[in-house]
Symmetry: C2
């Protein structure tokens, strides 16, 4: 099916919007009137630009407050519409969107509405234009799709059809039976289909619509279910995204357009119109790669945590540190970014690395060169939206290329076994692309996204959303700061799994490690909230261990100081605890701010 996007969904000038839509692979655009008005391009320029970019102008929108008004007002409206039809002729656009009236002058008279829309369609036909009539959820008299369709049906005009919009239909809390009326509409009378998702917010529908829409799969609507019903009518127009969103308005148009198109690809997969290479769910974390201009602080930290530098890369300044199944690469090569120590790549164990990369590529993730140097093992890798490199690995499987083969052993003995593996990774996301990140990890990697949670930092509310494999073998926490300016303030982290956090924390400290200090008041509160065995709380207090409990089990965890933008966490899960200690995050964040204030870091 053809895909389209409304220019209002993207930021910038009309030129920037068109370029971004074309680059992301859309077939067409809806031209939002205000974008044209504010542009220095003439309609003829826009037509030529779209042709050059391979974009069809699928819709011009919107015409407002046209129908069901006294004749004298309708005459004025028709005059206004003729101006727009003439403009559309210059643009080369053949379908116009007419929204149901919100005018206080409109009357509740379907016959009048049908008659006037019919006359509008007569005029449109003179210019080769079709009219698609849509019910706004807050329309004055017409606010449901089936009501709009009844009016279109009554008019019975060949140049008049309906436009369906998932936001207007699903924001009214439509039950499945409310959507059954779609089947009664002949496909050829559905002139257009606009798609948007939205988070399930209880708020005024106009504000919700204007500020909080998002791309399908990023919100809580069953957009795929609606599209299936529409396709069943025989509709063969484009799937077109129309999203009003305050964040997208500020974001760069390029990444937003890619995000948008990926959401449509996943939607098409869900409704069975565009087969993609199937998801290959990762089964574990092969490694986490840190880049740093100075390996010493990291080496000291990893040493105190009980890691051993077991191998080095044959061709690059990359050291492998191991303990149990936890593997950390420390890369001191010429840093791609100059921001100091940070988490730059993740190796994910994959049952089918090639298939995983093919799906990611089909879903518009940039594919990275398979070999970084001629002698390296050929590795499948893509870039996540936040720039983190994701390697699809087959550690220790002789039939497939193994990243481990690029490393030669140091022969250093591994001395400790406090740590079993990597429990989870926390990645700071660019502020404008938080919803995109969750959809990427869900759609591309096949992980499940948990609910988003707010976390109080001393300087603003952070959000955090976990994506996980079904068995918990891969857990990634996506986090984002309170404001665009916070993009680089908050640290990424690597959480290491242990079966005995008390022993691990003690040995870390005895080895010279510096835990994040936890305020005494926190432990007084724990004493109020839970009952502990004799001495248990004192041990936690002594070692800076935090405690949480859910319906399933218990979570105990502690933190190292931060190096560059990265810190480590030691994590012990018991009894099936499934969270990440979010209740303790405000205390951790405040402690990190306090350390930073003291050290000036």
């Amino acid at each position: 099916m053809r895909t389209s996007i409304a220019t209002v969904s993207l930021s910038g000038s009309l030129t920037e919007k068109l370029a971004a839509a074309a680059r992301a692979g859309f077939d067409g655009v809806e031209i939002f009137e205000n974008d044209l008005l504010a542009s220095t391009l003439t309609p003829e320029d826009v037509r030529a630009r779209c042709a050059d970019l391979g974009l069809r102008i699928d819709l011009y929108q919107p015409l407002r407050d046209i129908e069901a008004v006294p004749e004298v007002e309708f005459a004025r409206n028709l005059r206004r519409a003729r101006h727009k039809f003439e403009l559309m002729r210059r643009l080369g656009a053949d379908t116009v969107l007419v929204c149901s009236s919100v005018s206080p002058h409109a009357v509740d008279d379907d016959a009048l509405a049908a008659g006037q829309l019919s006359r509008l369609a007569d005029a449109a036909r003179e210019y080769g234009v079709r009219v698609a009539y849509e019910a706004l959820a807050w329309g004055r008299h017409v606010s449901t799709y089936d009501h709009a369709w009844r009016i279109v049906e009554t008019a019975g005009h060949p140049a008049l059809g309906t436009c369906l919009d998932s936001f207007h239909m699903l924001s009214r809390g439509s039950e499945p039976e409310d959507l059954e009326g779609i089947a009664a509409i002949p496909g050829e009378k559905i002139f257009f289909l606009q798609l948007a998702d939205a988070p399930l917010l209880a708020m005024d529908v106009l504000q919700w619509s204007r500020h909080y829409r998002c791309f399908p799969g990023q919100g809580g609507f069953d957009v795929a279910g609606l599209v299936r019903r529409v396709l069943a009518t025989g509709y063969d127009g484009p799937l077109s995204l129309e999203v009003f969103n305050d964040v997208f308005r500020q974001a760069e148009a390029g990444p937003t357009a890619v995000d948008a198109r990926r959401s449509l690809l996943l939607l098409q997969e869900a409704v069975g119109t565009a087969p993609l290479p199937g998801p290959v769910v990762p089964t574990g974390v092969a490694f986490a790669e840190l880049v740093t201009p100075d390996a010493e602080p990291l080496a000291a930290l990893l040493g105190a945590l009980g890691f051993t530098r077991t191998a080095r890369h044959r061709g690059k300044p990359v050291a492998l540190w191991e303990q149990g199944e936890a593997r950390i690469l420390v890369n001191t090569g010429p840093a791609v970014r100059r921001e100091g120590t940070q988490l730059a790549a993740i190796g994910l164990e994959s049952p089918d690395p090639d298939g995983a990369a093919r799906r990611a590529e089909a879903l518009l993730a940039p594919v990275l060169p398979r070999r970084r140097a001629p002698q390296d093992a050929p590795l499948d890798a893509v870039a996540a939206p936040d720039g983190t490199e994701l390697f699809f690995c087959a550690t220790g499987r002789p039939e497939l290329p193994d990243w481990r083969a690029d490393f030669e052993d140091t022969g250093l003995p591994s001395e400790r076994t406090d740590i079993r593996g990597i429990d989870h990774l926390a990645l700071t996301q660019p502020w404008h692309h938080f919803d995109e990140a969750a959809l990427f990890h869900r759609g591309v990697l096949g992980l499940d996204a948990q609910e988003s949670v707010d976390v109080a930092d001393p300087y603003g509310l952070m959000r955090s959303r976990a994506v996980t494999g079904a068995d918990g073998s891969v857990r990634i926490a996506l986090t984002v700061g309170a404001a665009p300016t916070d993009d680089t303030v908050h640290a990424q982290h690597i959480a290491l799994a242990t079966d005995d956090v008390v022993a691990a924390a003690r040995r870390f400290r005895d080895a010279g490690g510096r835990p994040l200090p936890v305020p005494a008041n926190y432990y007084d509160d724990l004493a109020a909230r839970f009952e502990f065995a004799d001495g248990e709380l004192e041990t936690y207090r002594d070692l800076g261990i935090l405690y949480d409990r859910d319906a399933q089990g218990v979570f105990r965890h502690c933190y190292t100081r931060t190096v560059g933008r990265v810190f480590f966490e030691l994590v012990q899960r018991d009894g099936g605890y499934r969270g990440y200690g979010a209740a303790n995050a405000p205390v951790r964040l405040a402690a990190q701010h306090a350390v930073r204030a003291l050290t000036g870091g």
Copy 2:
């Protein structure tokens, strides 16, 4: 009356919050539990710090999910509460807030709730603590203030009273008759009064409460009306602000605390408990002062607009440009800020400059030195929250000091009279203090605040809110960008009033002025929307004049290019048009972005 503020209303560490509250002049604080937990200060440290700062700890909060539960659970809750009472003893806090339960285990049994709260109060009394029971608007069984009071009354315990909270009471859309029950509560049983305002949003009350509260006078609630009712009961505890707000969480604590205290001062004035010097509403704009490192581009622009450099300051490098009643000062002295050309000060004609300054000072506006140099006329001036200096002037009134006396005439003749005066000034506000700005101009200057409007910029939604004198002689548009990073992106502007914008625009262009180019598409749209006399639209198109119409009249306006952070607008209002051409703002913003993209400026 004493004033207090909850630590959750301010950003930062507990230390920062306490310092900010004290500096703004609050008498006390509510300690929000999470702020204490995350602090490295012990309870004894906090007590000592508050004593040093002259702050009383008026409340410790909150205790949650205490009452109306099975006995075994209540025993656990009582154990938890005793821990907190002991903590309060260490803090020196004597009142604890208990919120009505949201626990799924709570039962709908007022007698059980009263009995358990009574036992809680027994325990509290052992520690010298009083319990203030409050109905959360989303409490499971108790969600209204009068229900909470009935339970307190039933318990009949001397250490148990109620806490009233304006958000929880007014967010339920309380009609005046819903508040009549306040009169039935004896004042001494109201242990605490928490105040917050909120914008009138139709949304889930929990989300509204947690993210959108604001200080009294910044939202849509009648907080003063509620306070009057509470004071009528004999309540003599503090007026305490408890505001959860995503923006304040990110803002610096210092300015937020000043903003908070100013809102309480205005509230106290409204309810008659704290007389302030009365408002002195400005009656006109005496001048606008621009600072610039390079006077040449401004001189060229002002010259083309028809201004004459009529005078120069006797002691400083400041030129006065005049035309009609429009006066622009161009200051090339050592700039206080290094950001290039900008609007730094406004002179407001005042019937009583001294009185205006005294009110501003009482409302915590920084007062500026009356004389900038020994020979200058003594002028009353204060700083607005955005840093703009506001001078209260008495131009041409011989009985008062006149700023004009500091200037000597150049003797240059004034040649043109296109411009009558200053129509309005647009000031870009710091992102975190937009609500504060409107309250300042309303409360301090006695201007009326209009509704806030959203304006689509190509890179995000801006907001704009006008404050005006009743007769329109002073109009200031407060604007703010889409995100904190936009603070300095958008320009300030000076709108000049003319009775013939066509003539003024033409003479501007003929004098070498460069108008902001307006896209041709805009005029095609005007042609569709309105009918014009022959040649009228062509004139607008030729001169870059924009057009708007409201129920009262017609607005025609055009813009100059931007110099530094400032541009000028020529404005003709006819027939009582009251707006600012907001419908045209997206076109203007896009045109400014286009010019900037071309010139790299």
